[in-house]
Symmetry: C2
Subunit: 128 residues, 2 copies
DNA sequence: TACAATATACGAGAAACTTCGTTAAACACT
DNA sequence: AGTGTTTAACGAAGTTTCTCGTATATTGTA
């Protein structure tokens, strides 16, 4: 019922902008979008209308120019999409996903590694 | 030129089967598919034809029944899709992705954790 | 050889996603 | 009020993805 669908490629691009500048009008979002590639204003508008219809964004229609906001935080969306990928390509195993992610990318800086290690300790505590 | 596209949702479901049982005929793959849901044989056939056209699978047409194989290993596909998700939702940061993955899922068993820690050590060595 | 079974090829339709033009309403300014 | 600007709504066309029926070719066998 209240289930928000996984955003499509284009919808995700719009959400990425909105997590930075929302609450925002269609105009403001569109200004950001056209910084990398041309699109009509009405295309952006239509996307937001469809996203609102799907429940991906909420909006305030009090003013002439509606004000939009993402329905989910970036973190929640990250969790949702990671979970989806985990189930569809990693047999449901998050550790398999993490191993692959770390293994295929060696250039991770020290503070990030420390952060990961710290979190790992915490996860270890919880799981014992 | 030689670039293999990211598989779609349905294509990925087929690839998951193929990584288990390929090389295989359409018939064999289709038998697996219908174990969870009904689909026509020709649908499976068409999917494989399109996937071959896209370069997602290779095939041997010597025999009457063509024999199909994935063009990419599961590992390579995992890397490709993880990379895509990283770029589209994690600002290109793999550690941010890993943190989110570990944080949102506490039920990871000890041997998996050990494996992750070992890999982390190795990554740390390389990056110094 | 003729018939049945099994395979491929192909195109058409359905569904989801994306783009954009047209229309009408709200607003701002002289 | 009248004109020009900005906005929302809507529908339609283009694209990609998925599903399936029909036609055709190959193989095996009575």
């Amino acid at each position: 019922m209240n289930n928000i669908p996984k955003p499509t490629k284009t919808e995700l691009a719009i959400l990425n902008i909105m997590w930075q500048i929302s609450p925002a009008t269609v105009r403001q979002i569109h200004e950001e979008i056209i910084k990398n590639g041309k699109t009509s204003y009405t295309t952006t508008l239509k996307m937001l209308q469809v996203m609102h219809q799907k429940g991906l964004v909420s909006r305030n229609s009090e003013h002439k120019a509606h004000i939009y906001e993402p329905a989910m935080s970036k973190k929640e969306t990250q969790r949702q999409m990671l979970d989806d990928l985990k189930n569809r390509l990693f047999g449901g195993s998050i550790s398999s996903l993490v191993l692959q992610a770390l293994g295929s990318n060696a250039k991770t800086n020290q503070s990030e590694l420390d952060e990961i290690k710290a979190l790992l300790e915490k996860v270890e505590q919880d799981s014992i």
